[in-house]
């Protein structure tokens, strides 16, 4: 019984490893906050070294938050 359990755990481990190791299909609709949700908390520096949070970025009539791949290339 113990040997069988160990064997099944080993198979499970190998299976999970192979699942995580292989590229999955990209589904952008599930990525990032959805409509109606709020943003996760953050605190990040801007180009001048000032810190901004999910609350301090909010503008008078709203905010456009753009995720860039990179500003540097």
């Amino acid at each position: 019984m113990k040997a069988t359990t160990t064997f099944l755990l080993a198979i499970g481990f190998l299976l999970s490893f192979s699942l995580f190791a292989q590229p999955e299909t990209i589904d952008l609709s599930t990525r990032g906050p959805q409509v109606g949700e709020t943003l996760p908390e953050f605190s990040l520096p801007d180009q001048n070294g000032d810190l901004w949070t999910q609350e301090s970025i909010l503008g008078e009539n709203g905010t456009m938050l753009v995720f860039l791949r990179s500003a540097d290339w």
């Binding site: 590229p23 801007d46 909010l58 753009v66 860039l68 791949r69 500003a71």
Partner: protein, 294 residues
């Protein structure tokens, strides 16, 4: 930079523009100084926040681990990262997405691009929100049934831009224009002439009203009041397109607005209005700002 060019339109609309990328604060400072950036650029070096948002792009890592010899992997890499070879430099990038937040920070809209080089232009996003923009040259047409004003979201296009053709239609008194669902009539629609560099998205129709048309004793979806149609398009960002259009200063799209309109007593036959839109072409900024050592 694309965003900097339109930042004033956002500012006047009371909307803050903020970017997040995996660049170091020094790199963002360098970029900001080099291109005169006046909006807030946030540095998420290490991609911790990008990961917290579930926006970390895993494809660069896959490219490093598995290579791009497999055609499927090569296509995925080309779509989500770059047309170049895998490079450690790409690891940590986010998927390029835009979130529109209300004043409480609740997400109102999300826009993602299907190809890494596609970018929703600010003008296109603002138009969808119904915000006023600086006057853009528009074409105006008067028919016996309505007045049409059509214009583009952008006066200039860069490769990979997502943009929109706008149609503001004002039915004349007692007139109605047939909307989607009016199957026995010519529903108002755009017939864009094929262009190898332009990809057409689905037409964004405003909600119609049910109208009782007494002569035929039927109820059909129509537009009775002024309404707008938005046709989103993507200008191809593939290097082969950039090569093919090198040196060209503008691009002109042609097509026609197909429609049928009736009054409460008389039904006009289907009709077509030929239209065209011209936009300047411009380059995207992809180059790395020069450092002092360079």
């Amino acid at each position: 930079m694309e965003l900097q060019r339109d930042v004033e339109a956002l500012r006047e609309a009371g909307i803050n523009l903020v970017t997040i990328s995996y660049d170091s604060q020094e790199a963002i400072k360098r970029f900001s100084d080099a291109f005169g950036i006046s909006f807030t650029m946030l540095s998420d070096e290490g991609s911790i926040v990008i990961e917290r948002f579930n926006l970390l792009n895993p494809v660069p890592q896959w490219g490093m681990e598995f290579g791009v010899d497999d055609p499927e992997m090569a296509e995925t890499f080309r779509t989500y990262v770059s047309v170049t070879r895998p490079n450690e430099l790409f690891v940590g990038i986010s998927f390029p997405g835009t979130f529109i937040l209300d004043t409480s920070g609740i997400v109102q809209e999300r826009h993602f691009e299907d190809f890494y080089i596609e970018r929703n232009t600010i003008a296109s996003v603002l138009l969808r929100r119904g915000e006023d923009l600086d006057p853009i040259e528009a074409m105006q047409v008067t028919t016996p049934q309505f007045n049409l004003t059509t214009y583009t979201s952008n006066t200039a296009l860069a490769f990979g831009n997502r943009f929109a053709l706008m149609f503001d239609i004002e039915p004349l008194e007692d007139m109605h224009v047939y909307a989607p669902g009016a199957d026995d009539y010519q529903v108002v629609s755009l017939n864009l002439d094929p262009n190898p560099y332009i990809q057409e998205m689905a037409m964004d129709y405003q909600e119609a009203v049910d109208y009782y048309f007494e002569p035929f004793d039927e109820t059909i979806p129509v537009y009775l009041q002024p309404f707008s149609l938005i046709q989103e398009l993507v200008f191809d960002g593939d290097p082969s397109t950039q090569q093919a259009l090198r040196g060209q200063e503008s691009i002109t799209l042609t097509g026609s607005l197909e429609y049928q309109a009736c009054s409460s007593t008389f039904c006009y036959p289907p009709a077509s209005i030929p239209l065209f839109w011209t936009m300047e072409l411009r380059d995207l900024v992809f180059r790395r700002p020069m450092t002092e050592e360079q």
